[in-house]
Point group: C2
Chain length 108, copies 2
């Protein structure tokens, strides 16, 4: 069994001013919101969900991005409603959110 | 297929002075060394290996720690030789390193 049922990593990488990066596109707010929602839903902890900060996930062309393991599900998101849907559907109920998935050819 | 065959996350969390944390126990050096070794071996990139920075992975009692996904393999390590073994055995040849695995009951 996985130590965490769903382990989601948010890219919070910040590049120098003038360069696009997840941190300049709402990633910190999305991370904070996800962490708060997971806690409020009672999902946090071993056997449950872990919401994690990460450095550059190297799929910048689709940023801001997050990845859920061990599911291998990559997401791109725009606002808190997207995060709410990932929490409710995927992290709580195990149903990945198709509409927010990163296309497989999106890289750096 | 997974975007990265092996995606390893190192906890680089640093707590205030006086408190134990992975960052105070060689995590940054281990991360740097792993990243350099993976690059030197030609393993880096999509379809291959990604070496990632992460915040606290919440298994501090076994720190410094790293986790390989989608394999769900958690490691604790002491020195560069441990990292070399993880790179050579697991990340290059797909054989997890039993002697470095984090016991399942190790948490925060």
């Amino acid at each position: 069994m996985s130590y965490f049922r769903h382990h989601i990593f948010f890219c919070l990488n910040e590049r120098p001013a003038g360069q696009a990066s997840c941190a300049h596109n709402g990633a910190q707010d999305a991370f904070d919101h996800c962490k708060a929602r997971v806690k409020a839903e009672g999902l946090a902890g071993p056997g449950g969900v872990r919401v994690n900060k990460a450095g550059c996930l190297d799929r910048c062309a689709g940023g801001p991005v997050a990845v859920v393991y061990p599911d291998e599900t990559w997401y791109t998101f725009v606002d808190r409603e997207d995060i709410d849907e990932i929490v409710e559907s995927h992290l709580k109920n195990g149903r990945p959110v198709e509409r927010l998935m990163l296309p497989p050819d999106i890289g750096r």
